[in-house]
């Protein structure tokens, strides 16, 4: 497979490991903030290959994991409405709300369909004119532009029965919150590759300078991750704190301007609740007033009581890299993939799920 196999080349991997081992010996903590990185690291067994002094920590990079219980509950209430077809990416299906999940609701007769792209959801709306189709807009800046594009298309095509429940999150504010937090010590960030395809390298400059932390934008194949670790270690050794792009075949310094323009036309930043962080200023996306007819939050007024985080659940601390899954008393004993308590266990990219599945 082109542009994949060469980044899994065993010879190159050995070469990079060799060079990593030869760098200075002090312990470092590197945080990856992208769930796809969490999975790649686990699936390939990369921790095994690195010297023990290099610790890879998983941060709040799974947009599904950081979606608070209230928003899942909102989606579930919508799904229970009679004439609503709820369209969602597969990632959300098993996430637990306060009482139930979308998967269980589907089992009770709610019309919930899995789609691969926002366009599929729009097609559903066109094929089912007598129903309301609500699409769950989840994801970071990688996904938001695609949903913005579909909303714009819906307007052009005069589709009246299509709305989006926006649960989108913006990543850089969470990174700042992480670094500002006194409890956390991070020596370097492995920055998300595809989010950066959209936002470019600029948003990380402030973090690198203000907090004196090197940031390297990484691809997802084993060679990408290891090369990134190498680049971070080199910066740490030289006492540098700058932003570098490892994933140069897919990320340009200015990012994707067209995607951002579409995103900014349809969405605007708003304060948003992140599981484990509470409310972060200007860290989510809501649909602008000018596109209100596509906002499910506006079309369906749902008020829900404030949901409690489940007792004993350490998702919040895990998302901030403070503890690891085995430190949580619920992990494996009560909280398992078939009976997840918190979202970290549900999402295939959640730290706890990855740990449960892959850690030997």
């Amino acid at each position: 497979m082109e542009y994949i196999d060469e980044y899994r080349d065993p010879g190159v991997i050995q070469h990079l490991i060799h060079h990593i081992r030869h760098l200075s010996g002090r312990p470092v903590r590197l945080m990856e903030v992208c769930g796809t990185h969490t999975v790649s690291i686990f699936r390939n067994g990369i921790r095994d290959l690195l010297p023990k002094r290099i610790r890879l920590i998983s941060g709040p990079g799974c947009p599904v994991c950081v979606t608070p219980v209230e928003q899942i509950d909102q989606a579930i209430v919508l799904a229970q409405e009679n004439d609503v077809i709820l369209a969602t990416f597969g990632d959300l299906l098993r996430v637990p709300g306060s009482n139930t999940s979308l998967l269980k609701q589907r089992g009770q007769g709610a019309d919930i369909r899995i789609v691969y792209s926002a366009y599929d959801a729009l097609s559903l709306a066109r094929e089912n004119e007598k129903k309301e189709v609500v699409f769950l807009g989840v994801g970071f800046e990688t996904t938001a532009p695609t949903i913005g594009a579909v909303i714009q298309h819906a307007r052009q095509a005069k589709v009246r029965n299509f709305t989006v429940l926006s649960m989108h999150k913006i990543l850089p504010p969470a990174l700042e919150a992480l670094v500002e937090s006194p409890e956390i010590e991070i020596d370097g960030f492995i920055c998300p590759g595809h989010v950066s395809t959209i936002i470019g390298a600029g948003p990380y400059e402030a973090i690198a300078q203000k907090f004196d932390v090197p940031c390297v934008i990484a691809g997802f194949e084993p060679v990408d991750v290891l090369q990134t670790v190498h680049l971070l270690l080199q910066q740490i050794e030289r006492g540098e704190a700058s932003v570098e792009i490892q994933y140069r075949r897919a990320v340009s310094p200015q990012g994707n301007l067209r995607a951002r323009r579409i995103m900014e036309e349809v969405f605007e930043p708003c304060d948003s609740v992140w599981r484990g962080f509470g409310s972060l200023s200007q860290s989510g996306f809501q649909i602008r007033k000018s596109y209100r007819e596509f906002d499910a939050g506006h079309r369906f007024r749902i008020t829900l009581p404030r949901a409690e985080e489940p007792e004993g659940c350490l998702c919040g601390s895990i998302l901030r890299g403070l503890v690891e899954p085995p430190d949580c008393t619920l992990f494996r004993r009560v909280c398992t993939p078939e009976n997840p308590v918190g979202a970290c266990m549900v999402s295939s990219e959640g730290t706890c799920a990855a740990y449960y599945k892959y850690a030997s």
Binding site: E2, E6, G35, P63, Y116, G148, P192, Q227, N256
Partner: protein
């Protein structure tokens, strides 16, 4: 976040293209791409949309480092490969 797959454009019809990876083809949307693409170009595909045209040059530079170090085992010269 997030899953993004490198695919090669085979056909273009307005805002929609057919793209292929390893013999598997799929319809993808070009609405959020910031540069023009043609047949034979490679793109990163996320959630059914192309989000970036892969820079062949950048990819080549990255891999040249390894080729020069003599550690690249994968044969890059096979037919149809994007890197020459």
């Amino acid at each position: 976040m997030c899953l993004g797959i490198p695919m090669c454009i085979q056909e273009i019809d307005g805002n929609v293209a057919t793209a292929v990876l390893g013999g598997t083809t799929r319809r993808i949307h070009l609405d959020v791409l910031d540069e023009a693409v043609g047949i034979g170009d490679h793109v990163i595909v996320h959630a059914g949309f192309a989000i970036h045209k892969i820079s062949e040059e950048e990819a080549r530079e990255t891999l040249n480092l390894f080729r020069e170090a003599g550690v690249l085992s994968v044969d890059l010269e096979r037919e149809g490969h994007g890197i020459h």
